[in-house]
């Protein structure tokens, strides 16, 4: 598989979201898009421009938006409810759980501005708990794509999948690593990006690119890291993770999310069952974020390639 680590083209996955919606909207009249006064930021604005009659702005009322989406799904629509991760998974948690997931309704929750890379808006808007909150809900599929190509594919896959899906998207423009002609996305199937023998790095979202760059540096020093992209947090590709870690004997998880209940938690739960191994969790250590440029925050929380490299070196 061709992987581009040049970082020459950068696109935020929220932009991928808006663009994918327009593509799907052209073919599927049952697609409806809901927003809560953030159409400019979540990028559903491009869908609104193309299909104004199928874009529903609910105003600043996320709980109600989730309920309206559930009601629309009851009547054959395929709604994508969009807002920031903090308000989708946080504020409207119980509506997502009870009105959508418990009712087994075909609603997609698209949550942009996830993680520390929200940047300047600071702690109240940096959701570092959404993976944990969403993956604990029975029947909820949780997606966390890494780049533009994967995000678009994930949106399409979520649309075609019957049932509730949570999609974690970002504000920060991130390098496009996949070749759109070649890349195939399948819900629940992790992607082996680089083979290695000494340890397995399991990354998700914006941390996939950073982990690949970190693995390159380790390689230069004779440390062979296998890199897996977990774009589906739930259902987790246990087979791929177990096969890799039983080969390498060590695992490192990387996410811009709390280590509690996130990818680290999910991977540890799996490994504890099938092949106990030492696992280094790279992520947010039980704290809130703060304001600052996204890049600076990634540096501070050691979630850029350099920080990942250093943490792995220190751990080995």
């Amino acid at each position: 598989m061709k992987i581009d680590l040049s970082g020459n083209t950068k696109i935020a996955t929220r932009d991928s979201y808006g663009n994918a919606l327009v593509e799907i909207g052209k073919e599927h009249p049952e697609l409806v898009v809901l927003d809560a006064d953030l159409a400019g930021a979540t990028k559903t604005g491009v869908f609104k421009k193309a299909f104004p009659e199928r874009h529903i702005d609910c105003g600043i009322a996320e709980a109600d938006m989730m309920g309206i989406a559930a009601g629309l799904a009851c009547c054959g629509k395929i709604p994508f409810a969009s807002t920031f991760a903090m308000f989708a998974a946080g504020r409207a948690y119980e509506q997502v759980r009870n009105s959508i997931a418990h009712s087994e309704l075909n609603v997609k929750v698209a949550a942009t501005h996830a993680g520390i890379t929200v940047g300047e808006d600071g702690a109240t808007h940096q959701c570092l708990e959404d993976i944990a909150l969403m993956r604990v809900i029975p029947g909820m599929t949780v997606l966390s794509p890494a780049d533009d190509v994967e995000a678009k594919a994930a949106i399409w896959a979520a649309f075609e999948y019957e049932g509730p899906v949570y999609i974690r998207l970002g504000r920060l423009a991130v390098p496009v690593i996949y070749d759109p002609q070649e890349y195939k996305f399948e819900i629940g199937k992790g992607v082996l990006l680089k083979e290695g023998t000494d340890l397995t790095i399991i990354a998700t979202g914006v941390e996939v690119y950073e982990s690949l760059v970190a693995a390159q540096r380790l390689e230069e020093e004779g440390i062979s890291a296998e890199v897996i992209n977990i774009h589906t947090i739930k259902p987790l590709d246990q087979e791929l993770i177990a096969a890799s870690v039983s080969k390498t004997g060590k695992a490192v998880t990387v996410e811009e999310h709390s280590l509690i209940g996130g990818l680290y938690g999910a991977v540890c739960e799996t490994l504890a069952q099938c092949c106990p191994a030492k696992v280094l969790g790279i992520g947010i250590h039980d704290c809130f974020g703060h304001s600052g440029a996204a890049k600076k925050l990634l540096q501070e929380y050691q979630l850029d390639a350099e920080g990942i490299y250093k943490q792995i070196k220190g751990w080995l």
């Binding site: 105003g59 709980a63 989406a69 559930a70 009601g71 629309l72 009870n98």
Partner: protein, 273 residues
């Protein structure tokens, strides 16, 4: 349907509620009995586009029990209408029953939306009404709200949206019995004036007596004739209506009758016949 028959059906539904809750040993009789006449009118006169043999027909009228704890009245009504056997009411809340403590759309034929967590059902009804408008369908959507339930902020988010979108295919019915678990709604956290609130959210407000079929008939007719805005029917009701010792007593919000109380309640309802 004439009022005499509606009264007979409502009485059967009340017996179903009391029997189910007694059998379960738990449940919510007060708010179920207060809304028994409203559901009778909806399912046996107002909602013409429903068919117990085809409960998922996309063209059907829809009912959302936003005050989901009144599940016994919904189950008793659906059973009376023929969606499932009446004897199943005896399995309410039991471990192997499909009749859950709160309505589950994936388990019970005729339940249009799973509800129970207060405030949430109304938003889903709004979504259904919106879908009807988008698809230019003729079905109507009815949601029953509790007067305690409207303390939930989500009710007003949904109301603002419904008013804004002029959803005249939507009717909110307020089971206005004045009581909630902790006592009088006016003592706990007064939701009044309820009429002015719905008016302020751009609803057409209609008053009705929740236990008078002529009054309910007039109210639903007025709602159907109201164009360009959703309607809210404020249905003045008596909590526990039909069972003397349960009437106007918040203590019967979520309590099952014991065997003695059950016998007395059933005897009173039998006399009603």
């Amino acid at each position: 349907m004439d009022n005499t028959n509606l009264k007979l059906i409502a009485n059967e539904i009340r017996k179903g509620i009391v029997t189910a809750v007694h059998s379960a040993g738990a449940g919510h009789p007060g708010g179920s009995l207060s809304s028994a006449d409203i559901l009778t009118f909806l399912y046996f006169e107002e909602m013409k586009r429903i068919d117990p043999k085809d409960p998922r027909n996309p063209e059907r009228d829809r009912f959302v029990l936003s005050k989901g704890h009144a599940a016994p009245v919904l189950y008793a009504t659906l059973a009376e209408k023929g969606f499932f056997p009446k004897e199943d009411l005896l399995t309410l809340r039991k471990i192997d029953s499909y009749l859950q403590g709160h309505p589950d759309m994936n388990k019970v034929p005729g339940v249009d939306m799973s509800t129970g967590s207060l405030g949430q059902g109304f938003s889903t009804a709004v979504g259904m009404a919106l879908a009807g408008k988008m698809d230019q369908k003729d079905y109507r959507v009815y949601a029953l709200l509790g007067d305690g339930e409207i303390q939930e902020g989500q009710i007003w988010e949904a109301s603002m949206f419904a008013g804004h979108r002029k959803l005249d295919n939507l009717v909110a019915i307020l089971d206005y019995n004045g009581l909630q678990i902790d006592g009088k709604t006016s003592d706990v956290c007064d939701p009044n004036p309820v009429d002015k609130k719905f008016e302020a959210f751009n609803f057409h407000v209609i008053y009705a007596d929740a236990h008078d079929f002529d009054s309910l008939r007039a109210a639903f007719e007025e709602a159907r004739k109201t164009k360009g805005m959703p309607s809210a029917i404020i249905a003045k009701s008596t909590k526990g209506k039909g069972v003397s010792f349960m009437e106007n007593n918040a203590g019967w919000h979520g309590k099952a009758p014991n065997d003695e109380e059950y016998k007395q309640a059933m005897a009173e309802l039998e006399m009603e016949k």
